[in-house]
Symmetry: C2
Subunit: 217 residues, 2 copies
């Protein structure tokens, strides 16, 4: 069902965080950085950072630190963000619009090249420079312009249909923001994003801090 178990997932998820900080340092002209400093600005333990960075295959200089540009390179290559990946977007609601307008994707090599929606009133509309097409057209469109990724921002009820269309169109990965579990062939990887998960975590932490008793009011 498009599932795949891999190891070091927590480290992998932290890599973009390093990347942001390192790019900032690079812009500021910082050439070398050592773990203790990264630990301070990122609020992580030194050993976590060393282990995470080791994953990318980069090597630092004992007693000195890591070369910032080399580190950036290693992370970008490890995540395969060096060559841009193209994606199509299904569902131009508020979240879909936000993703279309998010300039940060350029940094990480993601390009949303087309957007689709099933609402006739949205079709033809231009959103952040892309003209919204009819959802039903995504299959034929992908035949003409094959892209490896699909992003699903439609309401839960329509998500499986959107996924089916993307799969039929030949995408290899789906980034799913809808609140449902999608069924796909084994060779199509689905990454589900549950925004509410973060809020659940925050909520429980606040409760614990409060002594477990009172709700958030």
């Amino acid at each position: 069902m498009g599932n795949l178990k891999i190891r070091k997932l927590p480290s992998i998820r932290r890599l973009p965080t390093y990347l942001y900080k390192l790019k900032e340092m690079d812009r500021d002209g910082v050439g070398i950085v050592a773990t203790p400093e990264l630990a301070r600005c990122m609020n992580l333990a030194e050993i976590v950072i060393r282990k995470d960075l080791a994953l990318t295959g980069v090597s630092g200089q004992p007693g000195v630190g890591y070369r910032v540009p080399e580190l950036i390179d290693a992370i970008v290559r490890y995540l395969k963000w060096d060559s841009p990946a193209e994606a199509v977007l299904m569902g131009v609601g508020s979240l879909g619009k936000a993703l279309l307008g998010y300039s940060g994707f350029a940094d990480i090599g993601l390009q949303i090249v087309a957007a689709f929606d099933s609402d006739p009133s949205k079709i033809g509309e231009s959103v952040h420079g892309r003209t919204v097409m009819a959802s039903a057209a995504v299959g034929p469109w992908l035949k003409m312009h094959p892209v490896p990724l699909g992003i699903i921002c439609v309401p839960a009820a329509g998500a499986q249909e959107a996924a089916d269309q993307l799969v039929a169109g030949g995408v290899r990965g789906i980034w799913n923001f809808a609140n449902v579990s999608l069924v796909t062939p084994d060779d199509v990887i689905v990454q589900r994003e549950v925004i509410a998960g973060g809020l659940a975590e925050l909520s429980v932490k606040l409760g614990v801090l409060n002594g477990g008793g009172m709700p958030l009011e």
Copy 2:
């Protein structure tokens, strides 16, 4: 720095996922559900589900299953989503707008009651029914209307200042969508959301599936 280690975090993050599915079942009139069926529709192992649900303190009937409304209740109570939590939003860019327009928050008891931005051209604008106020006004505003949560959707460069204002205003938790680590007092919990983390995971999984060689093109 607003950090806090708690256990069973993976389970906690999965709870909203169950909640979505269970509410759907409830709407469809399903009164009882057993683990094997949940496992099928959610693409999780049975034992994972039993352990996760046990966390909420709910108890099922051996040989039968769980009562759906009871389960919903237990999760909602465990997450403290039974009483609505109010939040203010800092930064009405594309992501901020998306969150203001997201109807799903009502389901999970989150209410964004005010929105602030530092861009003069946005101040006074109405976004999804809320009038945008000047960022600098958030402190005084919070004095008049204390709320427990702040959401940060400003660009990275302004995030720490936004956090400082929220902390001064007395919020107890911050949901941070900016790409920086925030410094806050120990009793203010920060939940950082790194959207790119999911993309990193997807990217690595696709690479592994590909045999590790080729990039996403």
